[in-house]
C-alpha cells in the first residue's frame, strides 16, 4: 500500500500533469468548440487524444491540489503552524514540477502564458516571442 502523501516522485509526476492540463485546457476548449464531431470520421480517436493524460492514480492529483493550495497560502504569508515533513517534501516535489514545466513552456514576457519553446508568437496574446527565450 502506498501512502500518497509520502510518494514524492508520484506527486511530482501528478503536479507536472496538472500544470500541463491547466495550460492546455484553454486550447482544448477552443478546439472542441470548432470540432464538427458529427462529420469527423474518427471522432472517438479525436476526443481520446484531447482527453487529459493522467498516468498516476487519482489520489495523487487530489494531494497535489492540496499542495497547490498550501503553496498559495504560504505565498500570502497566511498564519499556519509548522509544516509536516510530508508537506515540506510534497512542496519540494511541486516546485520541481514547476521548474520542469517552466523549462518546457517558458512564460510569455507580456502576459505570462506558458508557450511551447519554439513557437514565434504567444498563443494567448499574440506577442512576438524571441527566438531564444521570450519577449
Amino acid at each position: 500500500m502506498i501512502v500518497v502523501s509520502r510518494d514524492y516522485e508520484g506527486l511530482r509526476i501528478a503536479a507536472m500533469e496538472l500544470l500541463e492540463e491547466q495550460r492546455t485546457s484553454r486550447d482544448q476548449e477552443l478546439r472542441f468548440r470548432n470540432l464538427d464531431l458529427a462529420n469527423t470520421a474518427n471522432a472517438d480517436a479525436v476526443l481520446e487524444q484531447m482527453a487529459h493524460k493522467r498516468t498516476v492514480s487519482d489520489g495523487y492529483y487530489m494531494r497535489v491540489r492540496y499542495l497547490f493550495w498550501l503553496e498559495g497560502m504560504l505565498k500570502l504569508n497566511a498564519v499556519l503552524p509548522e509544516l509536516q515533513v510530508n508537506e515540506a517534501e510534497g512542496l519540494e516535489a511541486v516546485s520541481a514540477a514547476r521548474n520542469e514545466f517552466r523549462s518546457k513552456y517558458p512564460p510569455c514576457g507580456r502576459c505570462g502564458f506558458p508557450n511551447h519553446k519554439f513557437i514565434p508568437r504567444c498563443a494567448e496574446c499574440g506577442a512576438e516571442l524571441a527566438p531564444k527565450g521570450r519577449t
Binding site: R63, L70, M73
Partner: protein
C-alpha cells in the same frame, strides 16, 4: 433569526401536512422514528437515540475508492454495508410487517436480522438524510459568524411519511486558514493499492476531523431542542447535536458556492 419550516414528505403526499406544534423544533433526544412505504405498505422503524459512537462506527465502515483503467475512472462508494449494520445495532421496534401466522416479527429471536436488506438500506438512508438547504432562502451576512442552513428528514407522525425540517441554522466562528488547511489536508490523504500508476485510490473518512472542527467553531444553532427546550448553550450543542448533522454542517461551511454570473 431564521424560521425553521417543517413538512411531511412521503411518496403520496405532494405537499405540506398538519404537524403538531411539539414537532416544530427538531427534538434530538428520545427514540428516532423512520417511516417509509414499500409498494404501498407503510413500514415504521423505532431506533434508540444514535450516539456519537454509533455514527463513528458507521463512518469508519463507509468506503470511497476510485480506480483508473485507461482513460476511464470508476468510483466505488459503499455506505450500504455500514448503514445496514447501523440499523441492526440500534433498531428497537418495527411496525408494518404482517406475518402469515399472525405472529409478531419482533418477538422472533434476532428479528433485526430478518428485516429485508432493502428496508434496512432505506432506513439507513433516512437516518442520514441531512443536507445543505437548497431553497432560495434569505441569507443574512454576519461579519462575526458564518451561518449554514440544513434540511433534514427526522421523525414521523404519519406512517409512511417522514417529517422534513428546513432551514436548520448552525452558526460558526469563521474558520481560520489553519482550519481550512486541516480540512483540505484530510481530503488529500489517500492510500493507493496496486501500484502508483494503475492502482486503486482509497480515501479515508474525514468525519472525525469534521466533528472536531464543528465542536471547536460552533456558536449557536436554531431549530433544535433537547428534552423539549431549545438547544442554545454551545457546550450542550457540542454534546447533544447529532453527528451526521455536525458533519454535514462543516462540509457546508467549507463548500465553495456555485457562482452565478451573467
Amino acid at each position: 433569526m431564521r424560521n425553521v419550516q417543517f413538512e411531511e414528505i412521503g411518496a403520496d403526499t405532494g405537499g405540506e401536512a398538519a404537524v403538531p406544534p411539539s414537532a416544530q423544533l427538531l427534538e434530538l433526544t428520545g427514540k428516532r422514528v423512520v417511516s417509509f412505504k414499500d409498494r404501498g405498505q407503510a413500514i415504521t422503524f423505532f431506533f434508540r437515540r444514535l450516539t456519537a459512537a454509533d455514527w463513528q462506527k458507521f463512518f469508519a465502515g463507509c468506503v470511497f475508492e476510485t480506480e483508473r483503467i485507461g482513460a476511464t475512472q470508476t468510483r466505488r462508494i459503499d455506505h450500504r454495508t455500514a448503514g445496514m449494520e447501523l440499523v441492526e445495532s440500534a433498531l428497537l421496534d418495527a411496525v408494518g410487517y404482517k406475518l402469515r401466522d399472525g405472529a409478531d416479527l419482533t418477538a422472533l429471536p434476532s428479528w433485526q436480522k430478518r428485516i429485508p436488506a432493502g428496508h434496512k438500506v432505506a432506513a439507513a438512508e433516512l437516518l442520514q438524510k441531512v443536507s445543505e438547504s437548497q431553497d432560495d432562502v434569505e441569507r443574512w451576512f454576519d461579519p462575526e459568524a458564518q451561518e449554514v442552513y440544513l434540511d433534514a428528514a427526522w421523525g414521523s407522525e404519519t406512517p409512511g411519511k417522514m417529517m422534513k425540517y428546513s432551514g436548520l441554522v448552525h452558526r460558526f466562528t469563521p474558520p481560520t486558514a489553519e482550519h481550512e488547511r486541516k480540512y483540505n489536508r484530510a481530503s488529500s490523504e489517500a492510500r493507493v493499492v496496486g501500484g502508483s500508476r494503475a492502482g486503486r485510490t482509497i480515501y479515508p473518512g474525514r468525519q472525525e476531523l469534521l466533528i472536531a472542527i464543528y465542536d471547536q467553531l460552533i456558536i449557536t444553532v436554531e431549530g433544535y431542542s433537547v428534552n423539549g427546550k431549545p438547544l442554545e448553550d454551545p457546550k450542550e450543542i457540542r454534546s447533544e447535536m447529532d453527528a451526521a448533522h455536525k458533519v454535514t454542517a462543516v462540509q457546508a461551511l467549507f463548500a465553495v458556492p456555485e457562482v452565478e454570473s451573467e
